[in-house]
């Protein structure tokens, strides 16, 4: 054929070229480059000695105790956060799906946590959790739940849950909005049919609402899991992985290895492992979204 690619292909190529260039340059290339450097022992404190070490960075990683600790911490954080997000977001979306005066105002209020930067969020919670002057102690003390100020973030048994709480607070709005969207897409005749069939409020929720929300729910869960696994900002500002290793999550581990120990090679290896894990997780996510567009 004379024209292998016609006008359509050519214009599509032209339209997609910028995006593809950007993504190739700033996402695909780095990820492969990262694979490459993960085979070297690159320490920026020793700029001139960067031997090829093959898979050593990976084997070191899996024998590193702290790495496994960080995996456990990450899993704990993600499970706790995502469960909480799912439950709270579900309740909120059900509430916002009702018709009542002030619904718009309420959904606007809901956007506040979503809009504020994570750093400001972290700063805010750090101040709330402050063991000396924080609001949490203040409230609990004034309500007589505690008789003296407590240590919060410094308590290794509480810290990961407190960080999760800050994370949940910020993530819930988006999750709720996404769920609300999927609630709104349930055709109302489905409810009417269920009513005619004699289903009560609870039964309608179980048999109509929940099944119809399932895809949206899945999406929210996967998305939030991805966000939780990779989360960094709160750990950086609230605890720096501490106390001890109580909040030493994977992303913090990578940060320390890379930017404190300056071991770029093993840092890259860890990043790669993290990328593969999230990638496997998000397979479903991509498939669902990809089919939709």
């Amino acid at each position: 054929m004379r024209h292998l690619f016609g006008y359509e292909e050519r214009s599509a190529a032209l339209f997609l070229a910028p995006v593809m260039l950007v993504l190739m340059g700033v996402a695909v290339f780095p990820i492969f480059y990262s694979l490459y450097i993960s085979f070297f022992r690159i320490k920026l404190t020793r700029p001139n000695r960067t031997p090829f070490v093959g898979l050593d960075n990976y084997t070191d990683l899996f024998t590193n105790e702290l790495f496994w600790v960080s995996v456990v911490r990450t899993v704990t954080f993600s499970v706790v956060s995502v469960t909480a997000i799912a439950v709270i977001a579900l309740l909120i979306s059900l509430l916002l799906n009702q018709n009542f005066r002030g619904r718009r105002v309420l959904s606007t209020i809901l956007l506040v946590p979503w809009a504020i930067p994570y750093v400001a969020n972290a700063l805010m919670w750090k101040w709330i959790y402050d063991s000396g002057y924080g609001a949490l102690n203040g409230v609990l003390y004034q309500l007589d739940f505690i008789d003296k100020y407590m240590i919060w973030l410094g308590d290794q048994d509480k810290t990961i849950f407190l960080i999760a709480n800050a994370f949940v607070w910020k993530e819930v709005p988006l999750a709720a909005i996404l769920l609300l969207v999927s609630l709104k897409s349930i055709p109302s005749d489905l409810y009417q049919a269920a009513r005619v069939d004699g289903a009560g409020v609870w039964q309608r929720f179980i048999h109509v609402t929940l099944p119809a929300m399932k895809p949206g729910f899945m999406l929210v869960m996967i998305y939030e899991t991805m966000m939780a696994i990779r989360h960094f900002d709160l750990f950086f500002i609230l605890t720096e992985g501490g106390p001890g290793d109580a909040s030493h999550v994977l992303s913090w581990h990578i940060y320390v290895e890379t930017f404190r120990n300056l071991s770029f090679g093993s840092g890259a290896a860890m990043s790669y492992v993290l990328a593969l894990v999230t990638f496997a997780l998000s397979y479903v996510f991509i498939r669902t979204l990809g089919r939709r567009i």
Binding site: M1, H3, G6, Y7, E8
Partner: protein, 366 residues
């Protein structure tokens, strides 16, 4: 001046769907050509290929004698009216109509003159400042026509432009479109699945099915002389009736259609074409309107059976008629005095019988 020629044109989609197969067609200048067929038959794809909205996979598409396979739509001198009208929601009626001219950089005064001309002809002058969302379906239809008209294109394409209108409006618009064609003196290609529209409007009709052209001809041709059972069935309301049977050539060179006790004699002209078909199993096609009540036709031209149903449609009457276990429908005068269960005789117009090979469905006489 626009002649459009398809030479061995193929259209295959990326998903493997073969939409148009080996299309050979010449559309004459100033002709009103209708592409007719059920949905998925490739008629819209064909139209889109003319517009340049779909690329030709193989073969050649020529405008006059220029190969336009790879020419994008905006380089072709075509205008198009869509089923959904596809008016630009963010533009006023005026701007909708003027847009095509503006895109082709027509002078401002010229654009204005043409838009107002078209609006006057279509009686939508008072709507020029409105937005499409403020218009009724019929008004939108007119705006869509106006948008195509002002362009004075070499080819005027219409993709089921009337199917979103209600029945009454549809009939009157048909007339207007026909008028428009005469006035504009340009090539029209019109896609529809509505046989009545096709028969009313077309100079020539192309009947398509599964991407293959079934028959090309004038409306009369297509209706009177369908090339196969598909074409025969697709046109006619109620649809053509089929009776399966054998061809029998007698010693005295008479040719008959035989099915059990029923025997119909073909007139000489038809008989000549069937002379070699002795013993062949065929489908005999009788159009609903090609019968008359009564047995005045005499032996060899009369069907006798039981009335199953009587369906008045106003101007006349559809008669459900049982014959050898088949239900046949005929259109008869509304004065017929029969009720369900009555036995009636109908005389067949033997000159208008259709005979198709049972296996291939191809007509044996046309």
């Amino acid at each position: 001046m626009a002649r459009i020629r398809f030479e061995n044109v193929e259209k295959k989609y990326a998903n493997g769907f073969h939409a148009v197969k080996d299309l050979n067609l010449e559309i004459r200048d100033k002709e009103f050509l209708v592409l007719l067929g059920p949905s998925g038959c490739g008629k819209s794809t064909t139209l889109n290929m003319i517009a340049g909205l779909e690329e030709v996979s193989d073969g050649s598409l020529l405008f006059d004698d220029e190969l336009v396979n790879y020419m994008p739509p905006h380089k072709r001198d075509v205008a198009m009216v869509f089923q959904s009208y596809a008016l630009y929601p963010h533009k006023s009626v005026y701007d909708n109509i003027a847009f095509g001219l503006q895109m082709r950089r027509a002078p401002r005064e010229e654009t204005d003159r043409r838009v107002r001309d078209a609006a006057r002809k279509l009686e939508i002058e008072h709507l020029l400042d409105r937005r499409p969302s403020q218009l009724s379906g019929g008004q939108r239809q007119r705006v869509a026509l106006g948008r195509a008209m002002v362009r004075e294109p070499a080819v005027f394409l219409m993709d089921e432009p009337l199917s979103n209108l209600d029945a009454a409006l549809r009939i009157s618009m048909r007339a207007e479109i026909k008028e428009l064609h005469q006035e504009m003196q340009t090539t029209f290609v019109y896609v529809t699945h509505d046989q009545a529209e096709a028969l009313t409007l077309a100079d020539r009709i192309v009947v398509m099915r599964d991407g293959v052209v079934q028959q090309i001809g004038s409306p009369g041709d297509i209706y009177e002389r369908p090339r196969n059972t598909f074409v025969a069935s697709f046109l006619g309301n109620p649809p053509i009736n089929y009776i399966e049977g054998q061809i029998k050539v007698t010693d005295d060179q008479m040719v008959r259609f035989v099915q059990g006790e029923l025997e119909l004699n073909f007139p000489a002209e038809t008989a000549a074409k069937l002379a070699d078909c002795d013993g062949l199993t065929v489908l005999l096609g009788i159009r609903a309107e090609d019968v008359e009540e009564g047995s005045h036709g005499g032996a060899g031209a009369v069907l006798t059976g039981k009335v199953n149903s009587v369906l008045p449609v106003g101007s006349d009457l559809f008669l459900g008629f049982e014959l050898f276990g088949n239900e046949l429908f005929f259109r008869v005068g509304k004065d017929i005095g029969h009720a369900s269960g009555d036995e009636v005789s109908l005389t067949v117009d033997l000159n208008r019988l259709h005979v198709f090979d049972k296996d291939s469905g191809a007509s044996l006489i046309w």
